[in-house]
């Protein structure tokens, strides 16, 4: 359905050119969900925007790679061809529900716009459909709400409206970029439930971007872990949690807060020391070496960057010393 191959996206910054997305590849089969996790700044949103071809033209560009969607390479699609995809075949919802809706247009207007654009509906038809969509995303009394402006709605409600807009044309792929990060916990659960149900109903694939492994555990089939613009581990979900290969992934899993009142605070919560290095200070060799407790000489660059290699069945990791190596033979 969607296959990303060797994607590189660069930005011009004051410190020079940076690879915000550095040679990543993944597949998204029909109806499945891929989780992309990683710390802030690891390149998750840039990956999503690259697939949408919405990288700001003045500073950034897709330097190389292919994005194959239903057999078509969308990196070479014309701008107008791409417009026919956006909001129609591939939709995206954003991290910031409070600011992602236009404040001067009604909710109804903003949903209808997509329908009129892609499905050539008349205004009346679009209005009717907008009410149905609001109903679908669980907004009460939708026939009243379509006349509301975004500022009348709470963050959770606005994110539901964003979902309604994204799903208006029944897309094949939904990219959800941290759809619940800005919302409080109970609302988060509601939105995730809603997305899960709608996924079944519409048989769509989802790319779920998050920094919350809890969300991944609940929601995804596969997961890709990003670090400094690279995918450093990629595996089916049960495998990642059972046998993480990359020390970074292990650190992420350990830092999920758990509820064990009998343990002390230190035992309950561990963190990965240090922070993500800025792009122009990424060390040669493994980009995680400075924060890695297992780092050895080989990680420091003499053998180059560790490639993303099979560490176990269907389990890829970019580490010279994977934690649970297993070959096909055994």
């Amino acid at each position: 359905m969607l296959s990303v191959k060797n994607l590189v996206t660069t930005f011009q910054t004051r410190q020079g050119s940076i690879k915000a997305v550095d040679n990543i590849s993944f597949d998204l089969p029909k109806g499945s969900t891929l989780g992309i996790v990683g710390e802030s700044g690891s390149g998750k949103s840039v990956t999503a925007l690259s697939i949408m071809r919405l990288i700001p033209k003045d500073t950034g560009k897709i330097l190389q790679g292919d994005i194959i969607f239903n057999g078509q390479n969308i990196t070479t699609l014309t701008e107008s061809g791409m417009r026919g995809m956006r909001g129609n075949k591939i939709s995206m919802i954003f991290q910031e529900p409070m600011t992602s809706l236009n404040p001067v247009f009604t909710v109804g207007n903003q949903i209808q716009e997509t329908l009129i654009l892609h499905q050539q509906l008349s205004l009346q038809q679009a209005q009717k459909k907008a009410i149905e969509l609001l109903q679908m995303v669980g907004i009460p009394s939708p026939e009243k709400r379509i006349k509301d402006y975004p500022h009348h709605l709470s963050g959770g409600m606005r994110q539901r409206v964003m979902i309604a807009i994204a799903l208006a044309c029944k897309p094949d792929i939904l990219i959800a970029d941290e759809p619940t990060t800005a919302l409080d916990v109970t609302i988060q659960a509601q939105i995730l439930d809603l997305l899960k149900n709608l996924q079944k109903e519409l048989a769509m694939s989802i790319i779920m971007i998050t920094h919350d492994l809890g969300v991944v555990a609940e929601f995804c089939d596969d997961v890709a872990v990003m670090y400094c613009g690279k995918i450093i581990e990629k595996a089916p979900i049960h495998q990642i949690f059972a046998q993480p290969q990359h020390p970074y992934t292990q650190g992420l899993i350990k830092s999920i807060p758990t509820f064990h009142p009998e343990k002390s605070h230190e035992q309950r919560l561990s963190t990965i020391p240090g922070t993500l290095p800025p792009f122009h200070e990424i060390p040669s060799g493994c980009s995680f070496q400075n924060r890695c407790q297992y780092a050895q000489e080989a990680c420091k660059g003499l053998q180059g960057t560790p490639p993303l290699a099979l560490a176990a069945q269907a389990h890829w990791a970019a580490c010279f010393y994977p934690l649970h190596p297993k070959t096909h033979q055994d």
Partner: protein
């Protein structure tokens, strides 16, 4: 609350503001300032002359009565006669204000339309060659002084090419047009540079908003994004800025009116100041304060109409 009650309430609110302004002006003119009769007649005036002038001006009345007179003049809209021209002040203000308005309103509209269009083109091609060129041109237009425009344009277009009148004015209908064309063009040149820069900044600010990214993610073309989603948001600060400029259309540009000998309000006020024409100065001070208060109110009203987030 609906818009009508809101406007009515705001109008009622302006009454105490206007009375406050009048009080302040009364304080400045009648208490802080010296005796205008003395100022007018000079050091060697005889006591009798002074007394009769003071009587003529109503200065021999008690301060309280003078204050009441001032308030009365606001509500009856009658500010008496000018000392200098002996004409009814309101009639003269209307006449010269209208001349200033016919001089500056057409350039205002043209420059407004042009600068919004050019700013949109600039924003559309942001960061590219055309945008950079337009920014450079507007900075150049902004940096040239008003005097250079006046002297250069008068010399070149009026004197050398003889396309326009160099200066002067004729109140008759089609005739006056030939006198206001050249100053009108200069007014456009004076305002368009900074307007383009301001509107471009406002538009670019909108273009970087999250909801514009949403609009693009829907599959809208860059043109519909710009004309629908960006423009409607940008109109809020743009219109606000335009309305605050409106009162100045009546006040006129002092320098332009002076250089082109156009008997507009700007000229009228300067003459009044030069001749110590106190009733005129007082009337202009009060009226312009009132006009500013009213246009402030208008800005707020338009704002509530344009921006659905503003609660009445």
């Amino acid at each position: 609350m609906d818009l009508k009650t809101y406007i009515l309430r705001r109008l009622l609110h302006t009454i105490p503001i206007i009375i406050g302004i009048a009080t302040l002006i009364f304080f400045i003119f009648n208490i802080v300032g010296g005796d205008p009769a003395l100022t007018l007649l000079g050091k060697y005036a005889k006591a009798k002359q002074i007394a009769s002038l003071r009587h003529e001006m109503g200065l021999d009345k008690s301060l309280f009565l003078q204050y009441i007179d001032l308030l009365k003049s606001i509500f009856t809209f009658d500010f008496g006669k000018s000392w200098h021209t002996k004409q009814n002040i309101i009639t003269s203000l209307k006449e010269s204000g209208w001349i200033s308005f016919t001089l500056s309103f057409p350039p205002f509209i043209i420059s407004c339309a042009l600068s919004i269009i050019i700013a949109m083109v600039s924003a559309f091609y942001r960061g590219q060659f055309l945008d950079k060129t337009l920014v450079l041109i507007s900075i150049i237009l902004m940096s040239i002084s008003i005097l250079s425009y006046i002297l250069l344009f008068q010399w070149f277009f009026a004197f050398k090419l003889d396309w326009f009148e160099i200066a002067g004015y004729d109140k008759g209908f089609p005739n006056f047009i030939s006198y206001i064309l050249l100053p009108g063009i200069i007014i456009i040149f004076l305002s368009i540079g900074s307007d383009i820069r301001l509107y471009r900044t406002i538009l670019l600010d909108e273009i970087n908003q999250d909801y514009i990214r949403t609009a693009r993610a829907k599959g809208l073309s860059e043109v519909s994004v710009l004309f629908k989603h960006v423009l409607k948001n940008a109109m809020i600060p743009i219109v606000t800025n335009l309305i605050t400029q409106l009162p100045f259309l009546f006040l006129g540009s002092l320098l332009i009116e002076n250089f082109f000998a156009i008997p507009g309000l700007g000229n009228f006020i300067v003459t009044a100041i030069n001749t110590s024409d106190f009733p005129v100065i007082k009337a202009v001070t009060i009226l312009s304060a009132i006009v500013f208060v009213l246009f402030n109110l208008l800005t707020d009203i338009i704002y509530t109409i344009l921006d659905p987030r503003v609660k009445l």
